[in-house]
C-alpha cells in the first residue's frame, strides 16, 4: 500500500492551484452573486488541459482518469473557485460518450469537451422522479429515422452555457412496471425545447432550468449506446459524479478552513488570538479531521473506478463524508468569523450554500445511507 502521492499528482495539484489562484474566492463569489458563469477560469483551465484531463487522448484530452479529474475539482475548489459543472460535463457526459458513444458522437463532442470550449450537461431529474429514477416519465418514441421526446426535467444546471444535453428518457417499461431508459444527445437549441430558469437561493455562478420537451425531434443517431440500456449506462457516470462531488466538497472544506485559520490567528478580542480559545479551535480541528478522512475515501473511490473495480460503496461513502465535512468546515469557519462570517466582504456564505446543496445533490444523504444500509450492511430495503 502506498499513501504517498506520485510526483505527477503533486505537480498536477500545484499547477491547477496556480492557474486558479489569480481567480480565487473573490472572483468566484462575485460571479456567484451575479449568477455569471466563470468563463475566464474555465477557459484558463481548459487551455492548460485540466478541464479535459480525463477525456481520452485520441480526442484531444489528457488521457487521465477520475483520480486526475477529482484532483482538478478539489484544487479549483480549494482555491475558492469550485467548478460545479465539471460534475456533469466531464464526470458524466464526457465519460458516458467516451464509453458508449458511436465514433461519430465521440468525434463530434469529445474534442470540445477536452479543450473546455464545449459543454454537454446532464438531465435526469424530473418533478415526479428525483431520487426514484424508476419513475422517470419523460419519454422518447421512435418515428421513422427520428426520436420524438416529450416530458419535463427540472433543476438542470448549466443549460444556458451548454451546446447539448445528455438526456435520460424512458423508451420502454419492463414487466414489473419499471422504466427502461435510454440516453440521447439533444442540442440545447432544439425546436420544441423550452428552457425556463428555475431560481434558487443558493448563490451559484451556474443557473438551473426547468426543461419542457414538446415533441422535440432528434435523429436516430442521437441515441447514445444501446436502447433500453440507459440505466446501466447512466450508472457508469453516477459514481464519477459522486466522486467529483466529493472532491469538490473536500476543496470547499480546505478553502473554508484556510480562511478560518488565518482569521483565528489574526483576530484578537481578549488580548490574544481567538484561535487560542478551544471553543474556536476544536470545531476547526474536528472539521479538518473529517475533511482528511473524506479526502482519503474520495481518492480510494476514484482509484477503484479507474481500475474498473466496484466503486459504488466507496463513491457513496466519499460523497456522504465529504458533504458533511464541507458543511462542518463552512459552519465552523463562519462561527470563527463572528459577524464577519455572514458578511459579503468575507464571502463565506456562498460556500456554505454550495456545501448544503451538495448534501442534497447529486444524490441526497438519505439515499447514500440507504445504499450503505442495504448493500453494505445487508439490512432490509425500505423501498
Amino acid at each position: 500500500m502506498d499513501f504517498v502521492e506520485t510526483d505527477e499528482h503533486r505537480d498536477l495539484r500545484a499547477a491547477v492551484a496556480s492557474v486558479s489562484a489569480p481567480y480565487g474566492g473573490d472572483y468566484y463569489v462575485d460571479h456567484a452573486r451575479r449568477g455569471a458563469e466563470c468563463t475566464e477560469l474555465w477557459h484558463a483551465l481548459g487551455d492548460a488541459g485540466y478541464v479535459g484531463v480525463s477525456v481520452p487522448e485520441a480526442y484531444g484530452g489528457g488521457g487521465g482518469g477520475l483520480v486526475e479529474l477529482a484532483l482538478v475539482c478539489e484544487e479549483t475548489a480549494a482555491a475558492g473557485a469550485p467548478m460545479l459543472l465539471l460534475l456533469v460535463t466531464h464526470a458524466i457526459s464526457a465519460a458516458v460518450i467516451a464509453e458508449y458513444g458511436t465514433e461519430e458522437q465521440r468525434k463530434e463532442w469529445l474534442p470540445g469537451l477536452a479543450s473546455g470550449r464545449d459543454k454537454v450537461v446532464f438531465a435526469i431529474t424530473e418533478p415526479g422522479a428525483g431520487s426514484n429514477t424508476h419513475q422517470l416519465a419523460t419519454n422518447a418514441r421512435r418515428e421513422g429515422d427520428e426520436w420524438v421526446i416529450r416530458g419535463e426535467k427540472y433543476y438542470i444546471s448549466g443549460v444556458d452555457e451548454a451546446e447539448a444535453l445528455l438526456l435520460v428518457a424512458r423508451t420502454g417499461t419492463d414487466a414489473r412496471g419499471k422504466a427502461q431508459l435510454s440516453l440521447f444527445l439533444v442540442p440545447t437549441d432544439a425546436d420544441g425545447l423550452q428552457k425556463v430558469p428555475l431560481p434558487v437561493d443558493v448563490l451559484l455562478p451556474e443557473k438551473q432550468f426547468t426543461l419542457r420537451f414538446d415533441d422535440v425531434r432528434v435523429p436516430a443517431s442521437a441515441l447514445v449506446g444501446d436502447e433500453n440500456q440507459g440505466f446501466r449506462q447512466v450508472f457508469h457516470g453516477l459514481n464519477p459524479e459522486r466522486i467529483t462531488g466529493a472532491a469538490l466538497c473536500v476543496g470547499i472544506a480546505r478553502y473554508a478552513l484556510a480562511k478560518a485559520t488565518r482569521y483565528a490567528n489574526d483576530r484578537e478580542v481578549w488580548g490574544r488570538p481567538i484561535g487560542t480559545h478551544q471553543g474556536v479551535s476544536h470545531p476547526l480541528a474536528k472539521a479538518k479531521i473529517e475533511t482528511e478522512l473524506a479526502a482519503l475515501m474520495t481518492q480510494k473511490a476514484a482509484w477503484l473506478h479507474d481500475r474498473g473495480l466496484p466503486a459504488g460503496e466507496a463513491s457513496n461513502m466519499a460523497k456522504y463524508a465529504a458533504a458533511e465535512a464541507a458543511l462542518a468546515a463552512c459552519d465552523a469557519a463562519m462561527q470563527t468569523h463572528g459577524g464577519n462570517g455572514v458578511s459579503q466582504e468575507f464571502g463565506l456564505l456562498p460556500y456554505w450554500g454550495l456545501a448544503r446543496l451538495l448534501r442534497i445533490a447529486p444524490v441526497n444523504r438519505e439515499m447514500v445511507l440507504n445504499f450503505v444500509a442495504q448493500t453494505t450492511l445487508g439490512l432490509p430495503r425500505s423501498y
Binding site: 505527477e8 505537480d11 500545484a14 492557474v19 492548460a48 489528457g62 487521465g64 486526475e68
Partner: protein, 260 residues
C-alpha cells in the same frame, strides 16, 4: 539551436526564509522550495525560441536532491532534458564557485549557442551569475533583458533602466539574463506534467565536471557569510504632516522610493 536554461530552486518567497546558525548558509529545510519565478521566465523565453524555429532546450541546475522538483517543473513546461549537478561538496559555494560549476556543466551539453538565466535569484540576489559565466566561458553576456530576439547567429536584447533603454546585441554563443518583464511564463499542461518524468535527466558530481572539492563549496569560496541578523521588525514608517502640502510630500516620498 542548442539552448541551456539555468534554473535555481529557491525558498518560496511567501514562506519564512532563514539562514542556518551553523555555517550561515541558506537553511533549505526550513521553507518550501520552488522554482524561482524569474527562471520560469527564462524557460518560457527558451520555449518561445524553440517553438518559433528549432531548438533543443536543456535545463541546468546545481542544487540538492529536492531540486529535482524544480527540474521537473521546467521539463513539464516543455524543456527537453536536464542536467542536475548534485554534490554535497558544492554546499556553501559563493557566486564565483557556483559560476565555475555551471560553466563546466554547460560544457557537458555540447555546442551550446545560448545560455539563458534569471537576472537575479530571489534568495542569493547577487545578480552576478550571467556576467560571471560570460567571463568564464569567454562569451558575451547580455544582462537584464526585457526583450530578446535571436536570429542569424545574433542575440538582440532590450534592457530598461531608470535612465532609459539600452539596445544590446551580441553574436552567439552568448549568455543572456532575463528580467521580470520579458514574458508571462506558461502553466505546465497536463500532458507536459505526464511527459516530464520520462525526459532524460543527467545527474553529475563535481568529479564528473573535472573539479576538485577544494575549488567549490565553503572551502573554495572567496566570500563567506560572517554574521547575519534578521531584519528588524517594521518600524512606524515615515509620517507626513499635512501643512497644506501633504499631497506633494507624499508624491515626493514615492518618487524617492522609485514607486512613481
Amino acid at each position: 539551436m542548442n539552448i541551456v536554461v539555468l534554473i535555481k530552486q529557491v525558498p518560496d518567497t511567501w514562506s519564512e526564509r532563514k539562514l542556518s546558525d551553523g555555517d550561515k548558509t541558506l537553511d533549505r529545510a526550513s521553507s518550501d522550495a520552488v522554482l524561482d519565478e524569474i527562471n520560469e521566465r527564462a524557460v518560457e523565453e527558451a520555449l518561445k525560441i524553440k517553438e518559433a524555429g528549432d531548438a533543443e532546450v536543456t535545463i541546468l541546475t546545481a542544487g540538492p536532491d529536492r531540486a529535482t522538483d524544480a527540474i521537473r517543473k521546467a521539463l513539464s513546461m516543455g524543456a527537453d532534458k536536464a542536467v542536475h549537478v548534485n554534490d554535497e561538496a558544492i554546499h556553501g559555494s559563493d557566486a564565483i564557485a557556483t559560476a565555475k560549476v555551471l560553466a563546466k556543466a554547460i560544457g557537458t551539453v555540447g555546442d551550446v549557442d545560448l545560455v539563458l538565466a534569471g537576472n537575479e535569484a530571489t534568495d542569493g540576489r547577487s545578480g552576478a551569475m550571467a556576467g560571471m559565466l560570460g567571463e568564464l566561458l569567454g562569451w558575451p553576456s547580455l544582462t537584464h533583458a526585457n526583450e530578446l530576439t535571436v536570429e542569424n547567429g545574433t542575440a538582440k536584447a532590450k534592457r530598461e533602466t531608470d535612465e532609459g533603454t539600452s539596445d544590446l546585441e551580441a553574436s552567439l554563443p552568448a549568455v543572456v539574463s532575463v528580467g521580470e518583464k520579458i514574458n508571462e511564463p506558461r502553466y505546465p499542461s497536463f500532458k507536459g506534467i505526464m511527459a516530464a518524468k520520462k525526459k532524460p535527466v543527467t545527474t553529475l558530481g563535481i568529479a564528473d565536471l573535472g573539479l576538485d572539492a577544494s575549488e567549490v563549496g565553503l572551502a573554495g569560496s572567496l566570500v563567506q557569510v560572517d554574521s547575519f541578523a534578521p531584519r528588524p521588525p517594521k518600524s512606524g514608517g515615515q509620517k507626513v504632516e499635512d501643512e497644506g502640502d501633504g499631497g506633494a510630500k507624499i508624491a515626493e516620498y514615492l518618487v524617492g522610493q522609485k514607486l512613481i
